[in-house]
């Protein structure tokens, strides 16, 4: 597999740990112009492509009544536009090879617009809708398009989140399992039930609740 991330030191650690199993590439997903060429370089070095997982995402903390366009923009650049830059390439390739799996890591946070994280919620909603559209485009081409919607996972991004978090290894294993069937998937059964309810709370009620 190939691993792409910004922090070269961490990538090198990963590559050192995994040996020849991991090809590391230092890359910032907001460097959109470099994506098509890098996509071809990565697939060439891998000798093919069966599965791509878009996992890049940011969730900067915002205050309850803070409105900062620069932060909102950064969230959309990483969580949405970077996904489009990469997954468009994968969609073209898989559409023509008529095979393959595209996975994007969305979030339960994309299910509703909540007071605490307007841009983050909107970015994950946008990602889920984009992925739904890709799925509808590529289903007839035998391409498996998957959105997974984890809750909090024990990563540095969620360091400030107070809720119970899923260990990283467990989340990764569940994501790979869910990647086998097209559609939108929560990782845990309780999430499936809770968010079925949350998604259907009428807006006038939802805005009075503290969730």
């Amino acid at each position: 597999m190939a691993a792409l991330a910004r922090r070269k030191d961490l990538l090198d650690q990963l590559a050192a740990h995994e040996g020849a199993n991991v090809l590391p590439f230092a890359h910032d997903v907001t460097d959109y112009d470099s994506v098509p060429l890098l996509f071809q370089r990565v697939t060439k070095e891998l000798g093919g492509l069966d599965l791509i997982i878009y996992a890049a995402g940011v969730m900067p903390a915002v205050e309850p009544l803070e409105f900062r366009f620069d932060i909102d923009q950064q969230i959309f650049e990483v969580n949405v536009l970077g996904a489009m830059a990469w997954l468009d390439q994968a969609a073209i390739r898989f559409g023509h090879t008529q095979t393959g799996t595209i996975v994007a890591i969305g979030s339960v946070a994309g299910d509703r617009g909540r007071a605490g994280q307007p841009a983050y919620n909107a970015s994950k909603a946008a990602l889920a809708t984009f992925m739904e559209a890709l799925r509808n485009r590529l289903d007839r081409k035998n391409v498996n398009v998957v959105t997974v919607k984890p809750g909090p996972v024990d990563t540095p991004m969620s360091a400030e989140v107070g809720a119970k978090k899923l260990p990283v290894e467990q989340a990764a294993a569940l994501i790979l399992k869910k990647a086998q069937s097209p559609g939108e998937h929560y990782l845990l059964l309780p999430h499936r039930i809770i968010f079925a309810v949350i998604r259907n709370i009428p807006s006038p009620v939802f805005r009075r609740l503290n969730i």
Binding site: P36, L37, F39, Q40, R41, T43, K44, G47, G48, L49, Q89, I92, R93, H96, T97, Q98, T99
Partner: protein
Amino acid sequence: MAVLLPLENIRRLTGFGRASASDGYVFEAFSATDVEEVLKLARETERQVTLRAAARSYGDAATGAECIILDLSQFNRILAFDQAQGIIEVEPGATLEQIWQYALPTGWWLPVVSGTTKTTLGGALAMNIHGKNNFLRGPLGEHVTTLEVLTPAGETWILSPGDELFNAVISSAGLLGIIMRVKLQLKRITSGDIWVEAVSCRHWDDQFQAFKRFEGKREYVVSWIDCFVSGATAGRGILHAARHEEEAPGAESLQLGHQALPTTFFGVFPKSSMWRFLKIFNNRAGMRLVNFAKHQSGKMFEHGKSSRQSLAAYNFLLDYAPGWERAYLPGGLIQCQFFIPRENARDAFEHLVNMQQEAKLESFLAVMKRHRPDNFLFSHAVDGYSLALDFKVTEAGRERLWDLAKRMQDYALGQGGRFYFAKDSTLTAEQAARFLGPDLAKFRELKGKHDPENLLTSDLARRLKIG
């Protein structure tokens, strides 16, 4: 790598057996200029190139993961035909079908044909194909009078029989250069028909005796073997020996209408969906039954009888039920063909068939032929016989099948066996090196000279570490 390839050109490609696949960027060439442009693009994008046309090789010879796939199937004009001498000049993408359909009405036929008429001449020479008359006429390469080759080094060579590069480009699987033009000597015939005689064989000894009986007396000999039986009936099957009919000049049978294959079975069932029907039988029990029935009908109805058939109907059995290979989906099929010297062949074939029975992975279709050696670099032929075994690939059995193939190949190597890249899917690099011996060093020397950047490759070449 500074230049982008058009991602829209990427395709998942397989060989005839559909048991393996890889993705490549496909570019069609219609002319020599197109070929040169694709080579230039490969250099700019730092990609290797795999040659492909009809993709009738069973395995991975016409696929190349992440390579530029140079598709030569449209570079296929017939350029000239000397009716008096029977020499035809064509571009590499011309199919055997195009050639014989062009030449037959004037009384010329291909000296060597494959079991399908869809192969291109370029591909057929890259693999140096043989037919059911290999023991008599040698491989197709022996009938080429002039070969024009473009090497990745940028040189165009006009080659004749006996030239070192002639003997190497023919047989080396498209890894030394690109065949751009071929002059081929056709064979004079007076009839579009042949006489086929059937001999039902009870066991291996019968098979070998029947082959000997027809040696030097018939143009074509081929035999089918039932791989499901053992003991006293091991090696049973039916042999067909054939000779060209002779007719007065201007025979009606030379007209193309006479060669058309029927599109239905028994005048009713459309052949295009025959593979769906075959699929029902395409399992061990079904094929055991089919092989049994074939033997019984051969014994009862065909044995000792002769029948007159058209050249196309007799020669192109693989085209008889178009798409039959799809009956092997989803896993596809592989073929293992073992070329064993005459003195070892009988015992070796018996042993190989036993090995696949012990593994409970019987070949659904097995074919035996007679061969003679030739002077081409990667020659697969021996003074002996070949046994070609078709195996169904399943997800659950894939690993066991490859293990069986590897063991059978090791055994065959011990018997002086040789292998054929047009069929191969399972040879290992180490086995290929053993089989090719000093010829591999010779190939590498030529490769270094004519393709110094190692531009030409394929999944087969990478698997066997030969290019």
